[in-house]
Symmetry: C2
Subunit: 138 residues, 2 copies
């Protein structure tokens, strides 16, 4: 069992600050479409970031285990929020990953590593909405 | 319908970077207990932060609607990750919130606002694990 502890304190208006040990604090706020300021991370952004960063760290793990050498890994993630019968909810997260390899012969192996990451990412498995992953290997 | 887009790129070793428009980039990495570096945000931290910051912004919304004046709002959140039959998963998030009021007569009203936030937070409702909230009003 592992635990992850963070703190969120309200600062001013619709803005708070996230802290966790020696990690750099991050400002967080209500999204602009709900009256919050521009250019500050929102809870919804953080959820999308948790999913996409977990897929990245999990892919790095499985790629390392299969001795695959990555040249680059770039991804974007879009979380969709909708009004549902149970109120506002995230109804899906779409992640697009582009991986560039040092060795083209490892294309099948990296596809398998990403599949393993997709199944084993502990953030995706904790969401009750679909997480779709689209992979491009270069 | 609202959408939230972020990008995560791998930088080096087990470290990546999250970006989203004009928001300050945030480094993210595999947790130390899985071979990552110290003092960098992890996907699990980001999930706990998404939950706790959503409870904060939702509470601010309902407090504002009920004309409650907050002196302060401080919270901590602990996400627990465990090995389950389906692999690693977040099995619960515990959030402790301490709210200080300008006017003690608004204690019942703020309790109600936090209950509304708990039910309506779009991050909690998207998780398939329990989110427990403990509230202290001062």
């Amino acid at each position: 069992m592992w635990t992850y502890e963070i703190a969120v304190d309200w600062k001013d208006g619709k803005i708070g600050e996230i802290r966790s040990g020696g990690k750099p604090p991050v400002a967080v706020a209500t999204p602009p479409e709900f009256g919050g300021p521009e250019n500050i991370w929102t809870p919804e952004d953080l959820l999308a970031s948790a999913v996409a960063s977990c897929l990245m760290t999990s892919t790095l793990f499985f790629a390392d285990r299969a001795k695959i050498t990555l040249r680059s890994y770039a991804s974007t993630a879009v979380a969709t929020m909708e009004k549902t019968a149970k109120g506002l909810a995230i109804t899906g997260v779409k992640v697009a990953v582009v991986i560039s390899l040092e060795n083209a012969e490892q294309a099948d192996a990296i596809r398998k590593a990403v599949e393993m990451a997709e199944v084993n990412c502990p953030i995706s498995t904790t969401l009750n909405c679909p997480v779709e992953l689209q992979l491009t290997v270069e």
